[in-house]
């Protein structure tokens, strides 16, 4: 596991000079997050694996171009991931629709099985609706809920101000709520 005490700037400097171990450190630190992002954007394990590998391959080939201009390394990685996922969707849309069967549906422990089943169906429906959102809004929701990022951090990745992210988030919630209107998912608080 990567040591949190190690200064990232030093590791980045060494990695940009071709040091394998330093890049390995960065890989270990960010692979989970990038995988999560790509996984939720693509909806299947196989493509998520392939795209995650390509994100790091591209990062490794271009790390000498990365200069810290107030943008964290993670934001740079997410941008690479965002571009690769966008290309993947473009290629994919020419051929077929994205399968949603692989999307994980997690159930809370201790719930009654019937309740679990309903909850899973609700989560599936919600995931389907999220997939229909514009890519930018999907990214926003993934970064907010899966990665637990603040609006400011999301803004750095998306190249928007904190206020713009907040506003986009609110509009996304409203759009989702409107789309959910006629669906099975109940928004009543339990």
């Amino acid at each position: 596991m990567p040591d949190p005490e190690v200064k990232e700037e030093d590791v980045l400097a060494r990695a940009s000079q071709g040091d394998k171990d330093s890049f390995g450190f960065l890989y270990e630190r960010y692979v989970d997050r990038i995988f999560n992002y790509v996984y939720y954007r693509t909806g299947n394990l196989h493509d998520a694996e392939d795209l995650t590998a390509r994100v790091f391959q591209r990062a490794m080939n271009h790390i000498h171009n990365y200069t810290d201009r107030g943008v964290p390394f993670s934001a740079w990685l997410y941008r690479i991931a965002h571009n690769l996922v966008a290309n993947w969707h473009r290629d994919r849309s020419r051929r077929q629709e994205i399968p949603l069967n692989d999307v994980p549906v997690l159930t809370a422990k201790g719930d009654h099985p019937e309740k679990n089943l309903v909850r899973s169906q609700e989560q599936e429906s919600l995931l389907r609706l999220i997939r229909r959102l514009p890519p930018e809004r999907q990214s926003l929701l993934i970064l907010k809920f899966v990665e637990n990022m603040s609006n400011a951090e999301i803004g750095q990745i998306m190249g928007r101000s904190e206020g713009a992210v907040k506003s986009l988030y609110h509009r996304t919630l409203l759009a989702l709520r409107d789309q959910l209107g006629d669906q099975v998912i109940s928004l009543d608080s339990e």
Binding site: V31, F35, N36, A108, L126, F145, L173, L187, D188, S189
Partner: protein
């Protein structure tokens, strides 16, 4: 009064939607196998490969310089011949 009720209803709906989103979009932990496998797919260029690439650039530069010099010599000779024979004919 109705307006206030609508706003609070809206807020409650959005809060519930956020709770649903939080329950649905949960982090997925990739297996250690997957992480190792992905790492195996990464190919860091060896130092020797970088040197070879740089050498390639150097030789390419030399070849380009050589071709340009040869062209310059050819043009100069051609001009000299043209002036030499051109004048005689004129």
């Amino acid at each position: 009064m109705d307006k206030i009720e609508n706003i609070s209803e809206n807020n409650e709906e959005l809060d519930a939607l956020e709770a649903h989103l939080a329950g649905t979009l949960r982090p997925v932990k990739p297996s250690r196998d997957l992480i190792v496998r992905l790492r195996g797919r990464l190919r860091m260029p060896q130092r020797s490969e970088i040197i070879i690439r740089l050498r390639d650039w150097r030789s390419l530069f030399l070849a380009f310089g050589g071709v340009m010099s040869a062209l310059l010599v050819l043009i100069t000779v051609a001009r000299a011949l043209y002036y030499l024979f051109g004048r005689r004919e004129g």
